[in-house]
Symmetry: C2
Subunit: 341 residues, 2 copies
């Protein structure tokens, strides 16, 4: 009996290809003292694994060349010298692309086939399900009646995010890459609309599908769909950035702000307009007045002379970087100032 392994052989420049992998036969490992030997029944393949094939700075170590490709696995325990497992148990693990694996059992989770099909542990009841749940509810914070757009709506995560949004009483618009997928998304999953981003004009399609704008965009893809969504978002929109599959295989970063860094660092960008925050004025005035008194904050004013005749010129200068500190145009003498300026 041999252990078939799919070895990660080389890193792709853009799209992964079969040449990046090599199939080898090795000996089936032995279960040593305290160890568990298991046989792989299922592999989970997920878009995030493209990131592991690259050495780019990311939230996880890159996969190592020369070892079996990384990934979640559903396995049957066939021999156990560890009291927590016994032969015949089903377990979720991270054994990667190989037929057999042995270890001390760390990181394994037992699965109960009587509770749910074991495959759901890598799908609806696993990581993709949790992603949809947390991304939509905790970051998206849907309110009844809001409009939610979900990209890759027929995918493992998007299909669930959209259905959760429907449960929360939202209008839900999906995007997907084929008419077959769109039919599935609307007829089987109950989305209100699904846009085929390969054949439809995105701008027109979003305009028709989202007459009240977009409150939440659950983004799995980035790229053109994100660009089109940004044109129709509403005030205080939320964009959980879950995936950027349209960009994962780019050989070079695209022009403009690279949201890959926002995703992999789980960072937050939030637009702010001060007029929303006037309730903070008392706190601000209390603190700033004290900081000024204590000399902890200094400021400079750039008071431009020349009156109203010079206002346009003074304003234009802001975009030429002329000012240091707050630019103000003096229109008439200031009776409150003693010193001559």
């Amino acid at each position: 009996m041999k252990n078939t392994q799919v070895i990660f052989k080389s890193r792709p420049e853009d799209f992964p290809s079969e040449d990046n992998f090599e199939i080898v036969q090795s000996d089936v490992p032995q279960a040593g003292e305290g160890q568990v030997l298991r046989k792989t029944i299922y592999l989970s393949v997920d878009p995030y694994m493209r990131g592991r094939m690259s050495t780019m700075r990311s939230y996880a170590e890159p996969a190592k060349l020369g070892e079996p490709m990384v990934g979640s696995t559903i396995s049957e325990v066939i021999e156990s010298k560890n009291p927590r497992y016994q032969a015949g148990d089903y377990v979720l693990g991270l054994d990667g692309w190989q037929a057999y694996a042995a270890s001390d059992g760390k990181g394994l989770r037992k699965l109960d086939p009587a509770q749910a099909p074991i495959t759901t542990s890598v799908g609806v009841l696993g990581m993709p399900g949790l992603t949809a749940y947390v991304g939509l509810l905790d970051i998206g914070r849907p309110k009844e009646g809001e409009t939610v757009v979900v990209s890759a709506a027929a995918g493992a995560v998007g299909s669930l995010a959209g259905q959760i949004a429907k449960i929360k009483g939202c209008r839900v618009v999906g995007t997907a890459g084929s008419d077959e997928k769109c039919t599935y998304v609307v007829n089987d999953l109950g989305f209100d609309v699904c846009i085929n981003y390969k054949t439809q004009d995105l701008k027109e399609a979003f305009k028709a599908a989202c007459p009240n704008g977009i409150d939440i965009y659950f983004d799995n893809v980035g790229g053109d769909v994100l660009d089109a969504v940004l044109k129709r978002i509403n005030v205080h929109a939320r964009i959980p950035l879950i995936g950027l599959i349209s960009q994962y295989c780019d050989a070079k970063p695209r022009p403009g702000p690279n949201l890959g860094s926002i995703l992999s660092n789980r960072a937050l960008i939030q637009g702010m307009i001060v007029f929303d925050h006037t309730d903070r004025t008392p706190d601000f005035l209390r603190d700033m007045t004290q900081w000024l008194r204590e000399g902890k904050v200094r400021y400079r004013e750039d008071i431009v002379q020349g009156g109203l005749e010079n206002a346009a010129r003074a304003f234009i200068g802001l975009f030429e970087g002329e000012n240091i500190g707050k630019r103000i145009v003096q229109v008439a003498p200031d009776p409150t100032r003693k010193e001559k300026r």
Copy 2:
């Protein structure tokens, strides 16, 4: 006595120019019953006003052609038929670019020259100060020892945001467009470092100035500085998006995701990696199990045959949009499944 007014005459395509404005003389308005007549002492000129000159969808109505240019003003009341004001009062208002204005007094705020110079009402104790305070503290949420980058660090808002970050015990790095500004930012304002973005290599400069990465980027400018910052942000970084002055005068939107929409809609983008959120697993499993039982959530699995030999092909297909639902590779027979697939 005439009222000098600077009329907003035409909308700029890119950079505003003096041709967009016209100076006219009209009669000084009269204070009618219940009204307040005031004389403008100072105009505030602010970068956000470029947005008002455009008809693009934004958080505020565009400025109207043929009327005095909009903007905050500091004025002296010269005649009042409104019991709340009297001649000699100083007020903050929105009278725009004109020497005199009259109205019922709505939207005016009285200023006390004994408390603080009246100019501070449009600067350190006004809108720019509140912007720095809320943007840094409420969106940035600085923690002691973190690294904060502030762009337009010599400007009205950035100069204050960086000093507040210093008060909170952060390492603070500014960017500005001249050596004179950088000297002011470091020597007078107390920033740790200031990078001249016009003369220094941004990548190298940020690497040297932020050896522990960037936790908060208080962004006033967008463009190249934002792109460079995104390469060095830390996990869970926060980016209060306060301004995009480097892009306000673009005739056409730049390629890539347009953060102007994030700013004007005060929207939020947040990257998410599911492994940060395993504490939500019990809630997720409880809800998802119930939704499945109630038929409110449906799912599909795309189980690919062909074993490990087909794993690479199945994985690559994810990026070609092959799958509907969760893709799983079957490696060995599943003893828990009754039905033949």
